[in-house]
């Protein structure tokens, strides 16, 4: 798999998870692991650089928040630009999946 694809995969996952509400890094990692039932495991070593890259790009925004009874954490939320970019990302992701299905004839098997 080309690196761009891999990167794209991860990006769309994160943007999707942030679509309904702000989450912090640990939560994101946990969610990805849980929802994929352990198939996808996001290494810390790639998660955070990913978040930073998205933040630089202006799609997500991190902010330190302190909730009652909890430690200070950095919560990421989708920015307007991120929200606008998400459908486009999903679309290209879907196209990618379809392309794989066609090649590997996964769906018709």
């Amino acid at each position: 798999m080309q690196p761009e694809l891999k990167k794209g995969t991860a990006e769309v996952l994160i943007l999707s998870l942030l679509e309904d509400r702000a989450r912090h890094g640990y939560e994101l990692a946990k969610l990805i692991e849980k929802r994929s039932r352990g198939v996808l495991e996001f290494h810390v070593a790639s998660l955070y650089p990913m978040l930073y890259r998205l933040e630089r790009r202006g799609w997500i925004e991190g902010r330190w928040l302190e909730k009652a009874g909890h430690r200070r954490r950095r919560f990421y939320k989708l920015t307007a630009a991120g929200r606008k970019a998400l459908p486009e990302q999903r679309k290209s992701w879907r196209e990618f999946i379809r392309a794989i299905e066609r090649v590997a004839q996964v769906g018709n098997a």
């Binding site: 890094g25 640990y26 290494h43 810390v44 070593a45 650089p49 930073y52 430690r71 200070r72 954490r73």
Partner: protein, 910 residues
Amino acid sequence: MPDWKEYVREHLPPLGLNGVREHEIVDEIAQQLEDAYSEAVVRGVSPEEAETRAAAQISDWAALEQEIRRAERPVANEIAVRVPKNLRAAVQEENIRKRRGGNMFADLLHDLRYALRLLRKNPGFTAVVVLTLALGIGANTAIFSIINAVVLRPLPYSDPSRIAALGQTAKDGEFTYAFTVPQFRFLRENHSQTLEAIGAYRGSGTFALKQQDKLEWVSAVSVTEDFFRVFGVSPVLGRAVQLNETQPGGANSVILTDALWRRMFGGDPGVIGQQISLDDSPYTVVGILPRDFKFIENPADIFIPLQLGNTLGDQGTNTEIAARLAPGADLAQAQSQLQAIFPQMPDKSSFVGVSAAPYQKALAGDLRPNLLILFGAVGLLLLIACANVASLILTRASSRAREISIRLALGAGRGRLLRQFLTESSVMAVIGAGVGLLAALWALRSLVAAIPWDLPTGAASVSIDGSVFAFTLGTAILTSVFFGLASFWQITRMNLVNALKEGGMNGGASRNRVRNVLVIGEVALSLTLLVGAALLAQTLYNLHRENLGFDPENVVTFVTPYPNVRPLTPERIWQFEQDVLARIQSIRGVTSAAAVSVAPLTNQSNVPVQVAGMNDPKHSFGGAEIRAVTDRYFQTMRIPLLRGREIQGDDITTGAPIAVINETLAKRWWPDSNPIGQQIVIGEYLGRQLFNPPDPPREVVGVVADVKNVLLSRPAPPMVYIAAGNKSIQLGGSTAWVIRSAPNAELGSAIHSTITTMDPQQRILRLKTMTEVIGSSIAAQRFDALLMSLFACVALALASVGIYGVLSLFVTQRTHEIGIRIALGAEPLQVLRLVVGQGLILAVIGVAIGIGAALGLTRFLTTILYHVTATSVAPYAIGGFALVIVALFASYIPARRATKVDPLVALRYE
């Protein structure tokens, strides 16, 4: 629970981000690890296992760092990635600082380490700066150590600042710390309320102290009853000198120093009241001085009463007076009261005033102005060294402009940079001071040994002590603050964008101006030192050219104290002298030999003299130099006979009353007539006879050329030669000898063995060639000239380093321009001229300013110059010329480099 923040900080390599961002990332990743850990613990995993699991989340920290770096990549980071290798350290430095946060002490340590690393990376620069500083600081410390010992450190007497030395000013402006005995008696009786005690003292030579089978030569000082009170000391055993002992014919008593008492008498208290033998005369021991008392001015072993009589010796201006100020009185009050009683003071015909000076100042004597001049000179040297270091640092700041710009771009505070610069220059200053201190320790030893003056407080008193060290450190810190500020000032004036764009090599015009000003200053100060050195060298040369009046080549001289026989009669002395003369003349190679009471340039022996029967001041002279000589004296010394005849052997054997006078005396009394056949009386002054019985009138039989007396720089005084052997006139306690011979390396030992076979107890003192005598008579001037020349040479070297540095930078900055010129067909000579011309301009401006500075500063040299004025043209011309030549040489290497510029490379340089 482990501190995960600390854990991340330890593992994550620096990211090259600004501090806040870097902090955030560390925090966030730490939070991640902590969450993983806490979760594991909640699930019931043991803390150790939880820790391992959390840590396992990040296996490759370097990869994480790379990823984050790639993800981030702010503007600053764009620069950082493109930073040349040699500047990466600076970038890293910024980041480490930011992540660590503020902690004064840790910052300081960190700054120190960073400074040391930078200095190690530039060994050439560091070496030049440290050496320059070490030279400046070392020379200052060495000279200051001597000044401290001689001028500043309080004398070891009780309340030493209240001790005054009395002195009087002669009509010719000459100041002397000596009085006649009648003058002292007058002052003692009339001393005002401002003086609590007044004591007179006079060196009394050496005595043979015989104690059972032991013999020791001990030196003595004669003192009056108040002497010890003046110096705030009283004997620990027995008593001090009493008033009645200072009368002529008073009891012979003696007070011993602690050292002598222990050495010769085993510290036996029973010695008080006992008689001891000094020169075979009985003296009663009356007191023992405390162990810590030392009479610095004349470290004698014994003190005996000064008997205030009316002998010829008592009439001479040869007695020193020290006084202790009364409580509440100050020196100025004492001074004015002394001046008020001066009109009644006896023997004041040749004096115009009496005054009181701090005793310590009097003790330092001639040394004081000399030391202050040398101190001024090393001060200038330190200034030059500072200018040089500042210029070096500024030049380096230019080449560091890029590093600094990057750090400023990364958000470094100016305050922090200032601290960094101060730390860096302080480190250099401290190393420089350290090396300088070592150099001073070494220099001090050789300097003290080379000092031609007797250090009043003794050579052992000169050491690097606390205050000297404080002075060095102070100088170091001052200079360091100065350099730090200077280079920081440069940086803050720098245009960051330009610095980044231009690669930092092109300093602004203002920066060049500062460096030029520093170099011009160095040249100007160096010129001042050069002029000083030239003036002193000229002085030395003039002294060497002085007409001695005799031929010193192949002449050896020495002194023999009178033989140790009792009773010591004129006949016994003459017998001894004849024996010595006969034996010396038989030494192989000796062509002629003679005895003289005092050899030229060694000492003086003055006695009044007048024209017989003429009792007016015009025909009396108070301080004529009297010499008793044997018949071949003039021949041995090659003193030209101008008129009449020399002293002959017959004159000695018959004791005929004759005299030979010198040209000065002949011109004084008989300017237009023939002095031969005239009658003079030695020891008579304004008709008063000072000898008892009086010396008979003597017929002048010859006139000889003038011979220098004590100092080369003084014209010869009136002088009278009489035949030796006629010891009705007592002329001191020793005989000097002059021997002319063929060059003979063994002459000295031959003389020694000749005389000691005659009398094993006979001492031979100050055996020297006449050339050495002349050398030591101008040793002070030679020392001054030597040190000043040394300083001037160092200054020249420093100035040439300065010029070289500025021109090197000039060539580097103008490589582009020079490349274009060469591409357009400029000849190497033209390029050479461009660079050398630049150097010459700096040198010429510096010389012009230096002439002004030198004219102002060399005024202080006037007192030690001889036959050369501080404004004479030659020294300035020589100094200026030397500097221009040095500037030419210093410019040549950068200029050569400029001619080698490859136009292609130079144009690509941008």
